[in-house]
Symmetry: C2
Subunit: 228 residues, 2 copies
């Protein structure tokens, strides 16, 4: 019997690489999907290709969609600065990209349906995160409910599942889990404004959360920083 | 006081043109969004530009996303023939594009959030339609619930609404409604395989449903057919 297929959303960052390793460990044939949505830098997408290959994805695709044309985020609009003053509580930061996770999960939904895959993995996290509304457990549950009505699944009696295995893990727990599964985090790029070589700024929210994760986990941080 | 803003998904076909006219009649400033998803022909998108202009949209944007790369539909894969034998009951036809409405609504969700619009109009119809799962009332309700959790709306207490004013109308009722609102359907293209001039085949499901709608409504059919 062949393994069940799963779509794994893969950004090239730490979380989604861990998510891919988990999908593989759970016995899925993984189809990795990266989305070029107009992010500031290409380093993440370059990393995603390597991560997909090293972690044994059956296939890796890049879907292009220009969310930058709508604006409204520091990640897609170079005229909005990426904050470097630390994670703020209780506000949605300017690095939030409106509807990004919904667009990416929707593309995964389409590919899943064509492949006959009933499982989609996404590396969202609601513990050490930046306060984005589309990283909350209730959002993931609502997307799953919607996805089951959107597709053949709802008509033909399959059951689509959105797996968010990192949802309730701290960043430290995520790197511990991935390290146990053999993920080499040196190949991942997390920084919101990495340079062309994939080197991290060390100052943005994503860098701060990542660095703190390795520290708390007591693991060496393999991140390549542009400074220091 | 300025009018509230609404995103209107606009394909260039009969249903979405009617939907735009309804949004305008309800007092919204309409921001029309068309999605180039890899459909077989460009005639629909050309029509959408004209429809947006004639019906008074404030702005018209075309978002590009390649659903054709996933395949699985006669509308995005030229090697799969468009059926011309009439609408079949109780099956999902090959013209169904996996997750298309979800991807399009997700893009609308992103633009709505940036514009501060709480309203999205979509011309789906569950009466005279082709049996697509993502045209059902329960799907629209589930998308709305998900959208309210996906965005700032869910955090900041706005309420996003997905308007599907055609959902329970027959095709005849739709053309009657649009005609009363002054829509000139000659500028719309509904056919699944229109030629470069926007002329309809007259044989596909979309053509059959459209033609029957005009007949039942007792209105002249302004459609330009390639034959006859």
């Amino acid at each position: 019997m062949s393994a069940p297929r799963a779509i794994v959303l893969l950004s090239g960052g730490l979380d989604s690489a861990t998510c891919l390793a988990i999908a593989r460990a759970e016995g899925f044939d993984a189809y990795a999907l990266s989305v070029a949505y107009g992010q500031r830098h290409a380093a993440e997408l370059i990393a995603s290709k390597k991560v997909a290959s090293v972690l044994g994805a059956v296939e890796h695709r890049v879907a292009h969609v220009d969310l930058g044309q709508f604006g409204g985020s520091a990640l897609t609009d170079a005229s909005i600065a990426v904050p470097i003053d630390g994670v703020q509580e209780d506000i949605i930061p300017v690095t939030y990209v409106p509807a990004r996770n919904t667009v990416m999960l929707s593309l995964a939904l389409g590919w899943a349906e064509v492949l006959g895959a009933n499982d989609i993995f996404v590396g969202v996290n609601a513990v050490d995160y930046s306060g984005y509304p589309d990283c909350r457990p209730e959002y993931i549950a609502a997307f799953e409910a919607m996805g089951n009505l959107a597709t053949r699944a709802g008509v033909e009696g399959h059951r689509l599942r959105i797996h968010a295995p990192l949802l309730r893990l701290s960043k430290a727990e995520i790197v511990q889990r991935g390290t146990a599964l053999g993920v080499d985090y040196a190949m991942t790029v997390t920084c919101y404004q990495a340079d062309d070589e994939g080197r991290a700024c060390g100052e943005c929210d994503a860098c701060r959360l990542r660095r703190a994760g390795f520290e708390t986990a007591g693991l060496a941080d393999p991140t390549r920083y542009a400074r220091g």
